[in-house]
Amino acid sequence: MSATTAAAGAPAMGGARAKEQAKGGIAPAIEALKGKIDSTVAAQLEACIHCGQCAEACHFYLTSGDPRLTPRHKLVPLETVYRRHMAPFSGLARMFALAPADLTRADLEAWAELLYDSCTLCGRCTVVCPMGIDIASLVRLSRAALVAADLVPESMQAAADRAVAQGSPLITEEVMRRVCAAQEKETGIRVPIDKQGAEYMVALSAMEYLNFYEVIGALARIFKAAGIDWTIASKGFEATNIGYQMGSDAIARTLVSRIVDAAHDLGVKYVVSPECGHAYTALNWEGPNMVGRPFDFEVVHILELLDRLVREGRIRLAPDETRRVTYHDPCQISRRGGVIEEPRHLLRALGANFVEMKRHGVANICCGGGGGVSAVTRAEERRIAAFACKKAQIDELGGIEGLVTACANCRNVLEEAIDAWDMELPVLGLTELVAEHLVDEAPAEEAGAPAGAA
C-alpha cells in the first residue's frame, strides 16, 4: 500500500528517479532499508530527541570534533526511509509534502563514509543515550542500503568476496592446515582437524591463523590439560563474518551456515567462539536468526570456557604473572556480548597485577577498528587517530606493562596504533596468557588449587 502511495505522491521525483534507475537505482536500497525496519527500529527512531549526547561516546567524534560523525547523524538514510515510507501517518505526511524527500544515490554516496569508515559498531553511544537507542545496530542495518546500492568500500567488498570464495577473508583451507600442522610440531600436541564426534569444535578468526597462530598451540595445550576432545572443521574453520559487518544478509548467512553445517556434520556438542568480537555476536546472538532455526549445538565463548575450566579445576594456572597489566574489553564480547567478568577472573587467577581502565566493561572505549572498519583501507588514518581515546585511558593508569585483550582484531588494530603513536606496549592475547601459566600436572589431584580464581 505504501509503495503505491509513494509512486502517486512523487510525480516531481519522476525525472530524478528515472535517472537514478539508469545508474543502478536507488529503489533496491530503499527496499533494503524498509525490510530492516521493525517495531524496535521504529521505536528507537521515534524516541530520538536529537540531544547529541551520543557524540560524547564516539571515539571518532571525540578525536575529530567533526559534528558529522555524531552517531545519530549516521542514521539519516534509515530515518529518511522510515519517515517517508514506513512511519505512522507517513502517507498523510507525503500528501501534505511534510515527509522528507526520498533517499537519493547522492545521499548514500555521502553516507558511505559515515556508515563504513566512521562507525565501529561498538555501541558505546547506547550507554550515554537517554533513550537507550542501540545506534550501532541501526548503523549496521543501514549498511544494507549501501550493499544494495553497491557502495561497499572496495577493500571490504574484496574481503567479503574472498571469504565467500575461499572460506576466509585472509587465508585458504590449505593455509589453515599448514598453520595447524606447524603448531602441532611446535607444541608436540595434536591439532585435530575434522574429528568426527568431537565434543568441541573450535572456529578461529582469520587474523589468528595469519598473525596470532600461537593461539592454536595454546588451545591445544589447554584442551589437553583439561582433557577436552576438540577439533577444527575444514568446512567451517573461519569464525569471522564479514557479511555480518558489511550488512549483507546473504553473505552473512552463507558464512555462518558453514560453521553451523560443519558442526552439524561433525556432530559436536559445542562450538567455541574464539577471541574475536563480532564473531561471537554473529554466531551466538545473530547466527540462529540468520539461518532461521535454533542451533543443534551450544555456542560457548572461549573466555567463558576457560573461566569454567579454571573454576571447575579442570586446568590449573600458576599465579606467577608479575606484570602490571590492564584489560581492553572487546566491545562485541563485553558491552554487546555479556562476557565481562570471565576475563577478569582469569587475569586474577594468573596472579597478574591487574588494574582497570577508568572506563571498562560496559563503558569501554573501542580499539578503533571494530565493525569492519579495520577492513576499510581508506579509514586507516581515522582509525589510528581514534586510538587517542584508548591511549589516554592507558596513559592515565601509568606504568602499564601489558595490554591484555581477547579479540584478534582488537589486538591487531591496537598493535598498529601503538606502533603509529610511537608507544612501547605489548598487546597480549588472554588465551595465550592462560596457556603460558598452565600447570601441566594432572588437574584432578588438587581440585582446590585455583582458589585465586574466585
Binding site: D38, S39, E46, P88, F89, V127, C129, A363
Partner: protein
C-alpha cells in the same frame, strides 16, 4: 461571570476535538508502530528479556558508564525542564480545576501561587537553556530539524500564554492559553513530542535485546 461564546467554543468543542485527535493520534501511532512487529529471537538467552527491558527503562533515567561529567548540561537542563513542566501540568491550580471539570471529575491539592511561580521560572530556565544549546552546539545543529524547533517553540508558547494568564483575570488570555494547548495536543501525535511515550518502548526494546545477552549497556 458567564462564559462568552468564543471561550465556550475554545473550551468546549475545540477542546474535545483537540483531545480526541491527541488520544486517537497517539494511540494509532503507538499501535501501528508496534504492529511493525519484531521477529522472534532464536538465540539461546543468557538472561531475561523482560528483566532487561525493565532494567534499561530504569537504568537510562540516570547517566551511567561515567558519562555524567561530559553530559552534565544535558542531564541537568533536561530534568530541570521536564520535572518543572510536569509539576506545572499536574499541580497548577487552574489545571487541577480544569482537569476536574473537563476530564477526570476529581481534584487533588494544587500548589500555592508562590510555588507555581518558582516552578514556572525553573521550567522556563530549563527550556531556554535547552534552546540555547540547540542553536549553539555544532553537534546539535547537525542533527536538529524543523520539528525540533517547532515543538520547542510550541511548548514555549503554551507555557508562556499560561503564565501570561497568571492573573486569571482575563478571559482572552485564558482563551489564548487554551488555543495554544489545543494546537500542542493536535501537533503532538505527528511530531517528536511522541518521545513522551516512545522513550519507554525504545529503552525497553534495547533492554530486551541485551537482557537476553546478560549485559546492560
Amino acid at each position: 461571570m458567564e462564559t462568552p461564546f468564543w471561550l465556550w467554543l475554545i473550551e468546549g468543542p475545540f477542546w474535545l476535538i483537540a483531545a480526541t485527535i491527541f488520544v486517537l493520534g497517539v494511540g494509532w501511532r503507538l499501535v501501528s508502530l508496534l504492529a511493525l512487529g519484531r521477529r522472534r529471537d532464536l538465540s539461546v538467552p543468557r538472561g531475561s528479556a523482560a528483566g532487561g527491558a525493565l532494567r534499561a527503562i530504569l537504568l537510562h533515567f540516570i547517566p551511567h558508564g561515567g558519562f555524567f561529567s561530559s553530559t552534565t548540561f544535558h542531564v541537568l537542563t533536561g530534568y530541570l525542564f521536564h520535572l518543572a513542566l510536569f509539576a506545572l501540568l499536574l499541580f497548577a491550580a487552574p489545571h487541577v480545576t480544569f482537569l476536574e471539570k473537563n476530564v477526570l471529575g476529581f481534584a487533588w491539592p494544587a500548589m500555592p501561587r508562590w510555588a507555581f511561580i518558582v516552578t514556572a521560572e525553573l521550567a522556563f530556565a530549563g527550556l531556554i537553556l535547552l534552546w540555547a544549546r540547540r542553536i549553539s552546539d555544532p553537534v546539535q545543529r547537525q542533527i536538529t530539524d524543523g520539528g525540533d524547533h517547532a515543538q520547542l517553540w510550541l511548548t514555549f508558547a503554551v507555557m508562556l500564554t499560561g503564565c501570561l494568564a497568571l492573573e486569571e483575570a482575563s478571559l482572552a488570555l485564558r482563551g489564548l492559553h487554551m488555543v495554544m494547548v489545543e494546537l500542542w495536543l493536535i501537533y503532538f501525535p505527528f511530531s517528536r513530542l511522541m518521545h513522551a511515550f516512545t522513550w519507554a518502548l525504545s529503552r525497553g526494546a534495547m533492554g530486551a535485546t541485551f537482557g537476553r545477552r546478560g549485559v546492560m549497556p
